[in-house]
Amino acid sequence: MQSFFAKSQQAQKADGKKTSKNKAPPPWVEKYRPKSLDDVSSQDHAVTVLKRTLGSANLPHMLFYGPPGTGKTSTVLALAKELYGPELMKDRVLELNASDERGIAIVRDSIKNFAAQKVVAPKDHIAEKYPCPPFKIIILDEADSMTTDAQSALRRTMETYSAQTRFCLICNYVTRIIDPLASRCSKFRFRLLDGNDALARLRHVSDAEQLSVEDGVLEKILEVANGDLRRAITILQSCSRLSGESSAAQNDEDGDATMAETRPITIADVNETAGVIPTETLKAIIKACKDSKGPIGDTVPDILVAVKELTYSGWSSAQITSQMHDLIITDVLIEGKEKSKIAELLSVTDKRLADGADESLAMLNLIVGIADVLGAAK
């Protein structure tokens, strides 16, 4: 009997050890979220205004809007942390995002209940360190995906409980927030991250993780991510996982883990991870479209071969469309009139792909169309 227990205990121990070893490290996006308002890069306007409110202990309802990955959620979380400190934050802040059910029922029950609660005075040791203003904050992340009904239900709630609750709505598209809500909030627009600030932030992450990266990789990541810092950091983490960097460093102590080969992260890694098609491939296609001699119909079989090659390589058509767009719009050798015709083709293709149309036909149509437009220009 005893031996049995001993055994099970042992097993448990082993189990415990294993879980701690295999415990997934937090995603870097969470790990490197700005801890204070000062850390938030590139959003000077919002940060200055919010800092002023820190001192005065008075906060309006807020509406943050801007493209993804610009630091909206980070800013409001940093603000909450500076206001309440980590301990009190649990009681005073309610965060809801699109993955939570947020129909009208939730607005009526959960949100209203939380909003209606009276604020309890903080304990002395917390009150000494943080401003702890006498209100709670409800953060509604991705508010643009809330239904109009749910938004309308929120209107009166916001006013009724304004004595003890502040709302912070976060969204990408301010137009999807109904006017009555928008007019109750002071709006903050978040700009796309400035290249230098974003680069500095990314470099900070890569240094902290002790990654070895080749020159130009970080710049490439930023280019691919289009100013979305969250996407940039995720790509960086995926790349490092692929090159076996961080993992090898972690398992070192155990000694038993097989040493994964470490190598610096290359631009090719970034392209592969982000699913980006090498620019050369697309440039070659555009060049072929431009150079095609004679009537366009004769070149169609060649284009068909090229399109099939693209499909065989497994590239996503949506990605092709978006990269094609970038290349053509910036191409100085294409006249404005042709560009607008091609833009129309691109938009039609994008719509079709979004509707689930067959990819190779859509691509064929797009590329033949581009060749036709460029051919007619000559």
Binding site: G244, E272, V300, G314, D358, L361
Partner: protein, 348 residues
């Protein structure tokens, strides 16, 4: 006796024949023990599944190959009962939620959650998490994908997802940004020839020369599965005889029917032909050939035979009608409309 495709499927990542870089990456991932969610994409017959199974074997050892099938019952909100086949081992599950059509959200919500909420029972298991493979992830409805997003974040401790898909275009951005994208490109024709040679040697296929294999490879649309099946068919047909360069490669019936449609379209452009074609279309559809495949194949066959100046409008029409086909409910309208349009183009 199993098909050659299954019989000669590489059993581990070390034995796959091409795309060594992907295998290396997978091995590195398996060695870290911290597997991110994966989104594996590439054309069919490129070897996505083979590589993923290799990865699982690296993660859990050979016992992952002991698989069984279960059928799982679901009850829709409208109280209808549905069943779905699930392939599972002690460490992983494999589902094709798109089999459930519009109810695929239920699979994600119920089955995945159930799996996610229970921990790995086997204490000796190498990993603390289970792996769920989702086939045909690109045909998941938006609702299902949104539900997936929530599940992915919530239960990372207990499950890892591997999504298999042909294209990432239909995967919503939030899922793409939460997964590690792995592209498996189709093998080159040379790769296919190499694999065919290997299999032929193992099966003692009497080959005259490698030209035959090259021919099979060029007819395979760079699809290794198709190439292997063709090789096996040729071998069975030839019996004891030598498989030579001149052995004709059988074309599937449906492709021949489509070829006939294309010929008729070009040769006679009358309402009577349209009527005749209609019955052919119905025949194809009743044999479960997907309508968009029909339209695509038809377009590819028409391109070489129509006059050069008509090719651009032809492709544009094909793309338009294929799009409508996806949006609409009754396929035959759009297929016929396309034929009529082609006839008009030819008349002009």
């Amino acid at each position: 006796m199993s098909l050659w495709v299954d019989k000669h499927r590489p059993k581990s990542l070390d034995h796959v024949d091409y795309h060594q870089d992907i295998s290396e990456r997978f091995s590195a991932l398996a060695a870290t023990g911290d597997l991110p969610h994966l989104l594996v994409y590439g054309p069919s017959g490129a070897g996505k599944k083979t590589r993923v199974m290799g990865l699982l074997k690296k993660l859990y050892g050979p016992s992952v190959e002991k698989i069984s099938t279960k059928s799982h019952k679901f009850v829709t909100p409208s109280k209808r009962e549905l069943e779905l086949g699930v392939i599972c081992s002690a460490y992983h599950l494999e589902v094709t939620p798109s089999d459930m059509g519009n109810n695929d959200r239920l699979v994600i919500q119920q089955l995945l959650k159930e799996t996610a909420e229970t921990q790995q029972v086997d204490l000796n298991a190498k990993q603390r998490f289970k792996v769920v493979i989702i086939n045909e992830a690109d045909s998941l409805s938006r609702d299902a994908q949104a539900a997936l997003r929530r599940t992915m974040e919530k239960y990372t401790k207990n499950i890892r997802l591997i999504l298999l898909t042909n294209s990432t275009s239909n995967i919503i951005a939030p899922i793409r940004s939460r997964t590690l994208l792995v592209r498996v490109a189709a093998p080159t024709e040379q790769d296919i020839v190499n694999v065919l040679e290997k299999v032929a040697a193992k099966e003692h296929v009497d080959l005259e020369n490698t030209k035959t294999l090259e021919k099979i490879a060029s007819h395979s649309d760079r699809n290794l599965r198709k190439a292997l099946l063709t090789l096996e068919t040729l071998y069975t047909f030839a019996g004891s005889k030598t498989v030579s360069e001149n052995t004709p490669i059988p074309t599937p019936d449906w492709e021949m029917v489509i070829g006939r449609i294309a010929r008729e379209l070009v040769s006679s452009r009358t309402p009577a032909t349209l009527l005749a074609i209609r019955s052919l279309f119905y025949e194809l559809l009743s044999h479960c050939i997907p309508p968009s495949t029909i339209l695509k194949e038809l377009t590819y066959r028409l391109i070489p035979v129509v006059p050069a100046n008509l090719r651009v409008p032809l492709i544009s029409a094909a793309a338009t009608y294929e799009h409508r086909l996806k949006l609409g409910a009754k396929y035959i309208f759009h297929l016929e409309a396309f034929c009529a349009k082609v006839m008009v183009l030819l008349e002009e």
